[in-house]
């Protein structure tokens, strides 16, 4: 009898370890109805006259959804909280510089660039109540540049209410990606071809306003399979040109026009996106958002007030 219990306990431990190991390797699948959304790039310049961002949210379920959102200022790592109510299947959009008020929801003007996070606050604990939303954003400037991208989504994996701690641990919510893979165009000598990278740590503590600082490692592979590396330190949020991080991203150093970057946060997993800038053969300027392919998963935690 006792031996049976021991075997049972050992089997349970083995199963839990196996599950944990499985969860560790899971990158968050994208473009599915999600419970947490992260918009890594909200850009406002000149009060919206130079650059503005249209944020779009859509309720993919046939039930009303309430969202708790926080806009994060990169300088202070503090945020503004607000709530959004979406009716079944409802889409909404607003300009970040102007905010929005529609009777059910009120979004303040953001006033500066930063990062936006939204969490589903379900009225019932079921998974289908959590995994209900998706979103995208279009950053556009007076110079005609446009950066469109989809929000990074995290799925709720177990039933339960929304608490003030979002455990991106592979058990409550899907994990943060461990590695992010970009295929990018190496920058030429022309400054119009300077691509940018946006980096934000996955772990954030808004409740105590403790900025997360992490080293971010870059592995750069050119078309000849030659490998170069670079690194930078990110605290709360960073938006830089690739050249500001390292010359390894330039055509002169890389040696090929295309490169493969693998981005990995050391102390905390990070979320990243690129802004591709290039010149067409006829000399016109092209811009596009470049979202990463994801590999592996690591746990992170978001705390909000």
């Amino acid at each position: 009898m006792r031996r049976g219990r021991v075997i049972g306990a050992a089997a349970a431990v083995l199963l839990s370890v196996t599950l944990a190991a499985t969860a560790q390797a899971e990158a968050p699948p994208q473009r599915l109805p999600s419970a947490v959304l992260v918009f890594p790039l909200i850009s406002i310049e000149g009060g919206g006259a130079v650059t503005d961002t249209r944020v779009q949210l859509v309720n993919l379920s046939s039930r009303p959804v309430q969202l708790k959102c926080i806009f994060v200022f990169p300088t202070s790592c503090g945020g503004i909280n607000f709530f959004i109510q979406l009716t079944p299947n409802q889409p909404i959009s607003w300009l970040a510089s102007r905010g929005m008020f529609n009777g059910l929801s009120a979004v303040p003007p953001f006033g500066s660039s930063g990062e936006l996070k939204c969490f589903v606050q379900p009225d019932e604990p079921g998974l289908d109540r959590h995994n209900a939303i998706q979103g995208r954003a279009a950053v556009f400037g007076a110079d005609g540049q446009t950066i469109g991208y989809s929000a990074v989504g995290f799925l709720r994996l177990t039933d339960g209410p929304l608490t003030n701690v979002i455990n991106l641990d592979g058990s409550t919510y899907s994990q943060c990606p461990d590695e992010q893979h970009f295929v990018f165009l190496a920058s030429e000598a022309d400054p119009l071809t300077e691509s940018e990278i946006i980096l934000a740590p996955c772990t954030e503590d808004f409740a105590n306003r403790v900025p997360t600082t992490t080293t971010v490692q870059f592995l750069v592979i050119n078309e000849f399979e030659q490998q170069l590396s670079a690194s930078t330190i990110v605290s709360c949020y960073e938006r830089r040109t690739l050249r500001q991080i390292s010359h390894t991203f330039t055509r002169a150093t890389l040696g090929t026009e295309t490169g493969h970057i693998i981005v990995r946060g050391v102390q905390s997993p990070v979320l990243a996106m690129l802004v591709d800038r290039f010149l067409t053969p006829d000399g016109a300027r092209g811009t596009a958002g470049n979202e990463p392919a994801l590999r592996g998963g690591r746990s992170a935690e978001i705390r909000f007030p």
Binding site: A142, I147, G148, V183, H260, T280, G289, E291
Partner: protein, 427 residues
């Protein structure tokens, strides 16, 4: 973990179809078992066993009663779509490994080919095809049944990728970018299919470990060192690439990702998007037949959801690009399907429309009055698409005016819901 999952799946199978445990006379019908296992995996949390061809039970007759918007039980299928659940279940499909291999080894491949006119498989779906009549279901949805199945998880290393929009002309070009996300050499079999006449051009490529590669569609590419050559493309079309894995294990298949930059040479108007990826789910050799059935590869998405900006009078016109998931390049049989559109405005008012296409289509928003702000009354709309006789994949090209009436263009990639099976056959 795999054993545990297998046990769970078999348990679910047994619960889902009690007759499975009963003695079977005349041997085991493995196709039935496979289908039952798949149904059980998809719905093991929902309990009732579903066969894909249960037509009559799903008939969505025009309801005479008031279209109550109370969510029905069918929506409770959503949890089955959460990838972790499904993903943990995925390995259980490997229990059919021996069956799969025997199937591919035998002349059943021809059986698969004869099965390829997929419409026959899907005809039982009792949905109105091209008549957007306002038959409100009790979910407030028009001509749509609940989405079932599992959509393909995106942005992960994949075994099969689709670029739904590649343009090569005197004024436009496309930079196609591929990336090997593994530490091993991979070989790709790719096809460019021109939208105007469904003409296909096939080619092979080889990527060294972690290698990135890009080329312009107008120019093509050639690298004799790795035996890769890409012909120049012509016109507007789509490109599909499959990993021709040299080994049967999943790590040899799920290795690829890609994106494309479509640009106007003169104005610089750019549409950058990620290829839609499908992961291989069960080990096995590459045969050129891509079964997007939820067993071998991930299924095609059943519905595409877009958050779009409505067309303002006199403003720039957005475009809707769609391609069918099912494609038979072996017999050059174009897949034709009707696409049902459902449009929800910010007041939750629902409109619908539809169109028919084969091969590839680019539909300007100006074609649909239901996508204009004057009809919808709001700046944003929730656009839901569903292919009737074949699932579809696609994207929207958003065009809008910004500060000082500058034109802005960006890609708008879909959110995915549900899954439906289809097959892509390469020659």
């Amino acid at each position: 973990m795999r054993r545990v999952s297998t046990l769970l799946a078999l348990l679910a199978l047994a619960l889902a179809q009690p007759s499975f445990a009963a003695p079977v006379s005349g041997g085991v019908d493995w196709s039935t078992v496979l289908r039952a296992l798949g149904g059980a995996l998809d719905s093991w949390r929902v309990a009732p066993f579903r066969t894909p061809t249960v037509g009559p039970t799903r008939t969505r007759t025009p309801v005479a009663g008031p279209p109550t918007r109370t969510p029905t039980r069918t929506r409770t299928l959503i949890p089955t779509r959460t990838p972790t659940r499904t993903r943990t279940l995925t390995p259980t499909r490997t229990s059919t490994r021996t069956r799969t291999s025997t199937r591919t080894a035998t002349p059943s491949r021809t059986v698969t080919v004869t099965r390829t006119p997929r419409p026959a498989t899907f005809t039982p779906t009792p949905r109105p095809t091209s008549t957007p009549v306002p038959t409100l279901s009790n979910q407030g949805q028009i001509a749509f049944a609940s989405a079932e199945g599992v959509p393909p998880a995106q942005k992960l290393a994949s075994a099969f990728i689709v670029f739904p929009y590649v343009v090569s002309s005197a004024t436009h070009d496309t930079r196609i970018e591929l990336m090997n996300m593994s530490n091993q050499d991979i070989e790709l079999q790719c096809f460019y299919v021109r939208g105007s006449d469904c003409l296909e051009v096939g080619f092979f490529m080889r990527l060294t470990p972690n290698q990135p590669l890009s080329w312009l569609a107008y120019d093509g590419a050639s690298n004799p060192l790795v035996f890769s050559a890409v012909p120049p493309f012509d016109g507007v079309g789509e490109m599909k690439c499959a990993v021709a894995a040299s080994r049967p294990d999943l790590s040899a298949h799920n290795t690829l990702q890609g994106r494309a930059l479509v640009y106007d040479r003169l104005s610089g108007e750019t549409v950058g998007y990620d290829a839609i990826g499908f992961q291989r789910l069960s080990p096995g050799g590459y045969t050129g037949v891509i079964d997007l059935d939820g067993f071998t590869y991930e299924q095609c998405p059943d519905r595409l959801h877009f958050a779009v900006l409505t067309r303002q009078g006199g403003g720039p016109v957005s475009e809707l690009i769609t391609v069918p998931c099912a494609e038979d390049l072996l017999t050059q049989t174009p897949t034709e399907t009707v696409v049902q559109m459902q449009i929800v405005n910010e007041f939750e008012q629902v409109f619908s429309s539809s169109y028919r296409f084969s091969c590839l289509t680019s539909q300007p928003f100006s074609k649909f009055i239901t996508l204009s702000k004057s009809t919808l009354g709001t700046d944003s709309a929730h656009l839901i698409l569903r292919g009737v006789s074949s699932p579809i994949i696609g994207m929207v090209i958003d065009r809008f005016t910004g500060q000082s009436d500058t034109l802005h263009t960006t890609s708008n990639e879909p959110f995915l819901e549900g899954g439906r099976s289809s097959t892509v056959i390469f020659p």
